[in-house]
Amino acid sequence: MLEVRGLHTHFLARGFDNQVRVARALNGVDFTVGEREIVGLVGETGAGKSLTAYSVMGLLKPPAKVVAGQALYNGRDLLALSDDERRKLRGGEIALVVQSPKSSLEPLTTVSQQLVRVHRAHRQVDEAAARVRAVEMLAAVGIPDPERRANAYAHQLSGGMAQRVLMAMALINEPKLLIADEPTTGLDVTVQAQVLDLLRDLVRARGMSALVITHDLGIVAQYCDRIAVMYAGQVVESGGVMDVFARPSHPYTRRLIASTPDSLARRGGRPLGGAANPPNLYALPDGCLYADRCDHAAAQCAVAPRADPVAGTHLVRCHFSRQFALEPMA
């Protein structure tokens, strides 16, 4: 369905000394989302998760630029499409739910007008039919009193409601692939569970695929089929949720799992302790990007590891992955 291969995204900026400085934010992101699969993309804040979503959707703004890689959607490279082709896919077949729902709704237009607009941009329907459909969608994402809420403006919605409205907007055209970027940050725990349950049910009921971006391993364990773990703009480990949780084979994944999901969630996805400085994207090492934070770093780590399978589709970017795969977690 969606196959991201070797995605590299850089920020190019000119410093005061007029030297071009490159922040290498994505350094080879590889993962796949299969038909009817829910894939969780995890990693600490700044790992490049949102950037991955924006790169795939073609929504980068300068100075960000995709410098290499492919994002194949049913075999077509999304990164090589014309503006027109890309626009037809966006919001129609591939929908995005973003991290900041309230500020992503247009302030001067009602909820229903925005839903109608998105619907009519992709489907040949008249205003009245689109409006009926908009209210249906609001009901489907669990918004109470959808008729009335349809006439609300963004500033009249709570964060949870705004998140649901975005979901309604994303789903109104029955997309085949949904990308949800931290769909529940900022919501309280009960609402969080409601939104995620709803998301899963809708995705399953409509036979869609989904990429769920989160920093919360608990969410991945509960809602996803597959997982991709990101560190410093790379996917360091990916595979079936069962396999990865049973045999985490990258030291970073192991560390994530060891620091319980609860504590990770409580820190809001901030980097783990230890050598906690986030990697400097302007001066990344040549070898393994995780080496300077890794307890097991060795001489080999000066050479960049490839993502190799430890079993089936369980891929790990570490020279010692096979060892780790055999070593149970303490």
Partner: protein, 338 residues
């Protein structure tokens, strides 16, 4: 409903604001170091004459008492008498305000009509040729001194090209001015069907209006561009892109959300320009409120200065009130918070 509450609150706010402005200008004028008595009495006056004039003007009273008397008079609609024109200040201000307004409103309107589309287009063509060229031109508009611009216009369009009439007032000396209805010679001439008068008034208007337009256009274009660029970098525009809207729908979103900040800026600009207009009035012998105020300040005509400042303050308050009402009607967010 929201509108009525808003209006009542706003008008209630006017009272302390105006009082503050009265107090402020009253004292400001008095610490200015000018003594109108000497100027009125002339160089040959004796000490006794000076004392007499001082008494007549009430300037021998302590300053707080003077202020109380002044305040009482203002409330009765008496702004004092200008010693330059020898007429009640209220009369002077009412006579001259429309004259300045005509210049200012046309100038700012034309300036905005040019600058807003230019600013928007520059934002949509960010860093492309149109943007760079329009920014350079508006930089010119920023850097040229008002006075010089007026003189330059006269030099080129009157002296060199002969396209425009000399900058000698609001209507040709050969034409009888129409009876005053609105105070605008152009409109008043049209009202009585005097086409010759209207043509002459229009001719006189062109250059000074053009000056105001040029001076207002530069900042309006710059801010319009900045406002539109900010809207374009907002989350909701990015999200609109993410939902695959047509480019035209995207443009509509940007325009809709730039509307009220641009409007507010043009209003601010309008109130700010009234000072600039004074210089233009000078160059073109326009004889409006700006020129009147400038004269009064230079020559220490206390009552006239106070009347002038009060008129400016009222004008600003009214402009901001109108803008706020428009914003209220255009933006549901403000309707709720007020």
């Amino acid at each position: 409903m929201a509108l009525r509450i808003f209006l009542i609150r706003r008008l209630a706010l006017f009272v302390p604001l105006l009082l503050g402005i009265l107090l402020f200008t009253f004292f400001l004028v008095r610490i200015g170091g000018q003594d109108p008595v000497g100027l009125i009495a002339g160089p040959t006056a004796t000490t006794a004459e000076i004392a007499m004039i001082r008494g007549q003007l009430g300037l021998d009273q302590p300053i707080p008492t003077q202020f109380w008397i002044y305040l009482g008079n203002v409330l009765e609609g008496d702004l004092g008498r200008s010693w330059i024109s020898q007429k009640p200040v209220l009369r002077d201000v009412l006579d001259r305000f429309p004259i300045t307004l005509e210049l200012l409103l046309w100038g700012t309107l034309i300036g905005a009509l040019v600058a807003v589309p230019v600013g928007l287009r520059a934002a949509f063509k960010h860093d492309r040729l149109f943007d760079i060229v329009s920014r350079s031109i508006s930089l010119l508009g920023f850097s040229v001194p008002t006075y010089f611009l007026g003189l330059l216009m006269l030099f080129v369009f009157f002296y060199l090209l002969g396209w425009a009439p000399p900058g000698m007032g609001r209507i040709s000396l050969m034409v009888t001015p129409p009876p005053t209805v609105t105070g605008s010679y152009l409109i008043d001439s049209l009202l009585i069907g005097n086409l010759e008068g209207a043509r002459s008034a229009l001719g006189q208007l062109v250059l000074p209006v053009l000056c105001v337009a040029i001076i207002s256009a530069a900042p309006i274009a710059k801010h319009t561009r900045a406002i539109a660029l900010e809207v374009m970098s907002s989350d909701y525009v990015r999200y609109a892109d993410a939902t695959g809207l047509e480019p035209s729908a995207r443009i509509r979103i940007v325009l809709r959300n730039s509307r009220t900040p641009i409007l507010t800026f043009v209003g601010t600009e309008l109130t700010g320009l009234i000072g600039t207009a004074a210089l233009i009035e000078y160059v073109f012998a326009w004889g409006g409120l700006g020129q009147y105020g400038l004269n009064a300040i230079i020559r220490g005509d206390f009552s006239a200065v106070q009347g002038y400042v009060l008129a400016l303050a009222l004008f600003s308050l009214i402009v901001f009130l109108v803008i706020d009402i428009l914003v209220l009607l255009l933006d549901p967010r403000t309707a709720e918070t007020s």
